[in-house]
Symmetry: C2
Subunit: 303 residues, 2 copies
């Protein structure tokens, strides 16, 4: 199944040239999921020719402006485009009050339904299941209530080898049993193990999103071995005192988390506007974790 | 005095490629004024190297999202940049409730003061006076309460000719009287007319902003003979029925208003996202009023 992370923006709050604040568009099979929605996200979707109308689920990490101020415009544009399909918005408690308040004061009456799912839990929790993926949320440590997200492809039933069907003249019921993981016993009593009857299963791919958060080793079990991890890296490590004070992470710390969680690849963002050149952030992170990329609007990472 | 209108965005609500919604940055002498603040205005300010910190007055036409959804981000960024100077925001009743609601739900505590001036008047009214300009507001006819704005340079005292001072050995008091517009009477009783003693006065320049509005001849007296007029032109005239229904104007109608108001130049914008090519809007308007330009983000019009 195709699984791609499109970066719409990866800057922190104050703009630096054309670096947009945080937002990502995730395409997994036929699912389109938006994670965070900083100001201008809908303009970026239009620029990169990604279809906003396909988005049915929006995951919000926290209620700081650089992660949500693009939501009212996007939701209003859905309305103007005549949307009828319901939209699910998942985020910390308060996300509904924010949007309802904005719509009330700016004359917006929606012609479709928004289903809010407000989070207020400890530990990692399964929060929704779409056709192609399951989504879990886990709390992070920032200045306000904040959640990280893990999106995992659903396990698929075993694919049976066509030779096995003809060799053993399998019935529909026998095929079902093998697809569910069972071995096959021939009429002579010979046990044919499942692995000999099925194609090798590809491990379900997974993506984890951690922004914004202070350096926090409690996150490691939640994101263990994901194929791709996005972790914020607001500062270089010489400003670690500021990162800690503002509950952000440094590029070095993002690398440390990726290494300890044994992830496949790391992408970092949410960099402070003080950095015109972003390469030093990548270089610093690379010392801790080799397979790291600094992200920019328009980048696409496939799993 | 320098007087420039910088276009940050001129699209209507739904994005089309990289066309941002409505916002303009007006630089008059040392004053920086923002008119409307669609989503992404602060990103455009950064892109065009215009200093947001210089903005002390923001004029809002109405509370539709494509004119205000950039405000929370801009105001929040002022905060993050350590702003201490007060900011004046002028707009229809409700602008304060919108911003206060957003800040309450997204954890914003300002470290500077916003002075709100909410409008609810008929006819044209003087609403504020800055060092270099006076600003008037007048109601327009749209789906929700909406105001247009007229920014006029202040009249300057006459500039006295240096030859006049030496020829007539004028005293300070005599110079003041001439600067205030008076003639001069010599000791022989000869009357020297003011025009012979002063440089020709340049007429104070003026700019009027009309967006959003249906075609409305009631606007004409308010914007009579301005040097530059911005008038919305959401549709081509073949969609006049839609313009009327949605309380917008067509390109032809913008030209008609400019001609009847006898303005110097016309700029048009707020075009519907259905138009990929904007030239037909300009062409249609030009039939009614020759000196017209369609505006795009990054354009600068000087008066």
């Amino acid at each position: 199944m195709s699984f791609a992370v499109h970066i719409l923006g990866a800057n922190s709050a104050v703009p630096n040239k054309e670096r947009f604040p945080t937002s990502q568009y995730i395409k997994v099979g036929k699912e389109s999921i938006l994670i965070d929605c900083g100001e201008g996200a809908q303009i970026q979707l239009s620029k990169y020719k990604l279809k906003p109308s396909k988005i049915n689920t929006i995951l919000i990490s926290h209620l700081h402006g650089d992660h949500v101020y693009g939501l009212p415009g996007l939701i209003g544009s859905f309305n103007l485009a005549g949307r009828r399909e319901p939209l699910t918005i998942i985020g910390p408690v308060g996300i509904q009050a924010f949007l309802v308040g904005v719509f009330k004061t700016t004359y917006v009456t929606l012609n479709y339904v928004i289903v809010f799912n407000e989070l207020d839990h400890e530990g990692i929790k399964h929060i929704t299941e779409l056709k192609e993926v399951t989504i879990q949320a886990f709390p992070m440590k920032h200045r306000v209530p904040t959640y990280g997200y893990k999106i995992t492809e659903k396990e698929r039933k075993q694919n049976i080898l066509s030779e096995a069907i003809t060799t053993y003249t399998l019935s529909i019921d026998q095929i079902k049993a093998i697809k569910a993981g069972g071995d096959f016993v021939t009429s002579e009593g010979e046990v044919i193990p499942n692995a000999a009857l099925t194609k090798e299963q590809v491990n379900p791919k997974s993506y984890a999103y951690c922004s914004d958060t202070v350096y926090d080793e409690d996150l490691i079990p939640f994101i263990q071995k994901v194929d791709l991890l996005y972790h914020e890296a607001t500062y270089l490590h010489d400003l670690q005192h500021m990162a800690e004070k503002r509950k952000h992470a440094t590029a070095k710390e993002a690398g440390m988390i990726a290494r300890q969680a044994n992830v496949g690849r790391l992408i970092i963002g949410h960099y402070s506007s003080r950095y015109d050149d972003l390469q030093p952030l990548e270089d610093e992170s690379k010392i801790e974790f080799e397979n790291v990329h600094i992200v920019r609007g328009g980048d696409v990472y496939t799993l």
